[in-house]
């Protein structure tokens, strides 16, 4: 089977339009991070998160009423998995584990005849949250540095920059996407947890993987078509690798979609971030990394031209 015969698509001709679209996506991401539309999970905020499973269906509102009696009515309460389980999340801090005990006692008093099971319980101190945020930031920055150095070393520095800018784009756009999904579908329980950070870093990995494959073809084609302008070489290489791009990324999207649909509640935010991020990564290889290299060279050549003239 073969999806593509030899193609000759002008991918990069309309890159200006895509620049605008990319910028908007990045902007949405940054706005959602800076203005807090992207909800940090208790991993970063600190607090207590507890999932209780009841033998039968339970009303979220009843739980809220029972918690209000102990002054915790403002806690976030959502269904978890099915309607038998509820997730209760609060950023309230106390010494020891008294917050979760308070929650459990309050629920038990309100429903003395319903015996629930604690499925999952996380308590994160405020300091840990801060450190995790810092660690996540460092991880992102170091991976950028690592990739900049490696790609710059194996190719040229312009390529390294292009790759890293594409990565910044992917991470920002994914954050924006998560914020929007979290807003539209609060039931999905999308918060930035450690797993989501892991997803962002993996997106970096897969996205740069894609970028490098195409840069590799550019490197090879530059040697074959010595007189061809970079713009055409880039387009040529994108066409050469198009089949691979579609097959590989198609497979990865499908696998992630499977993870998203069948992977269970715990893994869902991770899979969602990965899914969108991978799509972004494929797109950004062409319209961010590739386009950046072309325009960077063009501007440099123009400047060089001015100097020599």
């Amino acid at each position: 089977m073969r999806f593509f015969k030899k193609t000759n698509i002008d991918f990069l001709g309309k890159r200006k339009i895509w620049y605008i679209i990319s910028s908007i996506m990045v902007l949405i991401g940054w706005v959602s991070i800076i203005f807090g539309f992207l909800e940090p999970g208790i991993d970063f905020k600190g607090g207590t998160e507890i999932v209780l499973t009841f033998p039968q269906k339970i009303e979220v509102n009843d739980i809220r009423v029972s918690l209000a009696k102990v002054g915790m009515g403002t806690s976030e309460i959502i269904y978890y998995g099915g309607e038998n389980s509820v997730l209760i999340r609060t950023s309230e801090q106390a010494e020891g584990i008294t917050v979760s005990d308070k929650i459990k006692n309050a629920v038990q008093t309100a429903f003395p005849d319903k015996k629930f099971e604690v499925i999952k319980e996380d308590k994160i101190g405020p300091k840990i949250g801060k450190e995790l945020s810092l660690d996540a930031l460092y991880a992102l920055l170091w991976s950028f540095v690592g990739i900049l150095v490696y790609v710059g070393f194996r190719f040229k520095f312009a390529y390294g920059f292009g790759a890293v800018i594409a990565l910044v784009h992917d991470v920002s756009a994914t954050c924006g996407f998560l914020a929007i999904v979290g807003y539209l579908a609060p039931g999905l329980n999308i918060t930035v947890s450690q797993d989501v950070i892991a997803a962002l870093l993996t997106i970096i990995g897969t996205s740069v993987n894609d970028t490098v494959v195409i840069f590799d073809r550019v490197r090879e084609n530059e040697k074959i078509y010595r007189s061809m302008p970079l713009f055409d070489v880039m387009n040529r290489s994108l066409n050469d690798t198009l089949s691979r791009t579609v097959i590989t990324n198609g497979t990865i999207f499908a696998v992630l979609l499977i993870l998203l649909l069948f992977g269970g509640d715990v893994i869902r935010p991770f899979a969602l971030a990965m899914f969108f991020g991978s799509i972004c990564g494929t797109y950004s290889t062409i319209y961010v990394a590739g386009a950046f290299v072309i325009d960077y060279k063009r501007i440099r050549n123009r400047k060089a031209g001015l100097v020599t003239a």
């Binding site: 999952k120 101190g125 300091k127 993996t202 494959v213 499977i258 992977g263």
Partner: protein, 628 residues
């Protein structure tokens, strides 16, 4: 063709290694399946029969993370300010104000506490010697003393927690130090929170208890043995078919017992006699009484849980006198021949003295003979009691017990007045240091607070495993079918390599004793997707080369060599992010990074080497692979 041979040899080696590493996991799975089918007495008998094999398999199987098997992960932090408060003398209002200020400031930001604490005093022109050390000490000296003290307190807290977790019997627990003053405790399978809190946070109980008279101890052990003889008929019958290793041990036990039993019924190297011994002495089969007549029993490391089970039987408990208790050595010991064992001590049920009378302990070296010693000081009340106890028990042994684990049982040499004792007989400076930590645990509790706690209920763990397995299988099926559909027989070859890839990933994880976590499963699923990439690159390249007019054989070789740089570069960059993820992530995220990195290496190998072998074999046999 030399290349081809090398490739095949390497592949076969990897396959065998992977299977070798995975074997315990398979065994463990089978054992557990067998046990779950048996009930009551049958399952105990089965457990007893295959005891050693089950333990060995369990120790080497692929470990499941807390998120998959359920359990708790707790991060403790030593409360340095509380410690500073406990250490200080003559505390006044100034002191408390400063302490409070430092507490608020350090809660908001990550700062080094002691320098901040010292700075506050200096700003107000108060000398630290007012609260710590002696009056003429410089601030700098006191600061370094405090730093030292807090450093030691973390070690103490770790030792206390480890000791308790060991006593509590959590299997596969993990305790590690993180940074300067944090302790991460992983408790798989534990769900009772109340117990965990007391396990981790309560004050440690240090006790001094007298050892019971050896004669009495022997008698009690004898009657336990006699009692069990009739009761354990079924269990010990199973023991007849025990492994050679066990027989050797039985022999040793017999040697040890020759003295005790007057040589009766012990003649060597006769299997039926050994079986008879096992039948007649079910307790002494595992508990080897000390030959010097100290009243202790030695129990091989792997037999400890057996003996615990025996001792826990209510009938056995009834045999043990009310004022005697069998306690275990806190640490596993090693005989000269390398055998690992625990010591079972017979101690009095009531403590002579508890550890709060200990004011200081210091490991050091005896200048006369260079042996490790520990100096211990006691408060004046304690010293008075201590003088009475030691005076009345010269020549007897007194056990130093922390939370029911015995760390040392020195012999009282003389009546100790004045509260200064010297404990000798340590084999190494480490042993002395450990004893110092233990003794201080009574004197200066290391206050810890729980700053992070994650609990996963076992049912969520099961759900996660099921969902993870399901999605892995679906993803695998999809990928396999798609590859065949798109690339024909060469797709089949790629699928074949993918199977090896999965075997390698799990094999390497088992070999590294890595822990499989939920994100780790996601990592494997993702690797399936990415493993395909290398084959896609190669196959696309071969198609291109064939379209360019090359013969099949030439196209395959060109395809592999030209695709290599793209595969290598792209995988290395992904690997770099894997390393960084591993470096900065914690717990499950590290598990994910680990699987991702293993997956990258395994998939590069299987996609490049294994498929190449197959294509070469095919072309030798004259079968032309179809690239679709």
């Amino acid at each position: 063709m030399r290349n081809q041979l090398a490739r095949i040899v390497i592949t076969v080696c990897f396959v065998f290694l992977s299977i070798y590493f995975l074997w315990p996991t398979v065994q463990d799975y089978n054992y557990r399946k067998d046990i779950s089918q048996l009930t009551g007495q049958d399952s105990i008998a089965y457990l007893e029969k295959n005891h050693d094999e089950i333990l060995a398999a369990k120790a080497k199987r692929v470990k499941l993370g807390l998120d998959l098997q359920g359990g708790m992960r707790v991060v403790l932090e030593v409360d340095i300010l509380k410690l500073l408060e406990d250490l200080a003398k003559n505390k006044d209002d100034n002191f408390h104000t400063i302490l409070k200020e430092v507490r608020t400031e350090s809660a908001a930001n990550e700062v080094s506490i002691i320098p901040l604490f010292a700075k506050k005093f200096q700003e107000r022109g108060i000398r630290l010697s007012r609260y710590y050390g002696s009056i003429r000490d410089e601030d700098a000296k006191i600061i370094s003393m405090l730093e030292d003290e807090t450093g030691k307190s973390v070690d103490r807290a770790i030792e206390i927690v480890r000791n308790r977790v060991d006593q509590y019997g959590v299997s596969e627990s993990g305790i590690q130090k993180q940074g300067g003053r944090r302790i991460i405790v992983a408790l798989p399978g534990v769900k009772d929170e109340g117990e965990v809190n007391s396990l981790l946070q309560g004050t440690a109980l240090l006790e001094f208890r007298m050892l019971k008279d050896p004669q009495i101890s022997y008698k009690v052990m004898q009657s336990i043995d006699n009692y069990l003889t009739g009761k354990l008929e079924t269990d010990t019958a199973a023991e007849t078919s025990a492994s050679k290793e066990q027989k050797k041990e039985q022999k040793k036990t017999k040697d040890a017992l020759t003295e005790l039993t007057g040589g009766a019924a012990v003649s060597e190297s006769d299997t039926t006699k050994e079986a008879q011994f096992a039948r007649e002495h079910p307790f002494f089969l595992y508990v080897k009484p000390d030959q010097q007549g100290t009243g202790e029993g030695y129990v091989a490391e792997k037999d400890k849980d057996r003996v615990v089970r025996l001792l826990d039987r209510p009938e056995v408990q009834r045999i043990i006198p009310a004022d005697l208790e069998f306690l275990w050595s806190a640490k596993v010991q090693t005989f000269r021949d390398g055998q690992k064992f625990f010591v079972l001590y017979p101690v009095k049920r009531t403590a002579e003295l508890t550890g709060n009378v200990v004011t200081n302990a210091q490991a050091s070296v005896d200048p006369d003979d260079n042996r490790s010693i520990v100096n211990m000081e006691m408060s004046s009340d304690g010293a008075r009691e201590w003088a009475r106890i030691t005076g009345a028990n010269i020549g007897k042994r007194i056990a130093i017990i922390l939370d029911k684990g015995i760390f040392s049982a020195p012999v009282v040499q003389a009546k100790i007045t004045g509260g200064r004792s010297r404990i000798t007989g340590m084999d190494s400076p480490e042993e002395a240091r450990l004893l110092e930590i233990v003794l201080k645990a009574g004197a200066l509790p290391a206050p810890v607070t729980i700053i992070e706690k994650r609990t996963v209920g076992p049912s969520l763990g099961e759900d996660s495993i099921r969902a993870g397995l399901n999605s892995t299988i679906i993803a695998l099926l999809f990928t396999v079918l798609f590859m065949i559909l798109y690339y024909n027989s060469s797709g089949l070859v790629a699928d074949f390599a993918l199977m090896f890839n999965l075997l390698f990933i799990i094999g390497v994880m088992a070999g590294f004793q890595a822990t499989l976590t939920l994100p780790g499963i996601a990592g494997i699923v993702l690797t399936i997707g990415m493993a395909v990439d290398a084959n896609v690159l190669i196959n696309e390249r071969i198609r291109e080369e064939m379209a360019g007019g090359k013969t099949l054989r030439a196209a395959i070789d060109a395809g592999y060599s030209k695709a290599f740089s793209a595969i290598a570069d792209s995988n290395i960059t992904t690997f770099i992010t894997g390393i960084i993820l591993f470096q900065f992530g914690t717990g499950p995220v590290q598990g994910f990074a680990m699987t991702l990195m293993i997956g990258i290496i395994a998939s590069m190998f299987s996609a490049i080497v294994i498929t190449h072998i197959i294509f070469n074999i095919m072309s030798e046999k004259g079968i032309n692979p179809n690239f679709g």
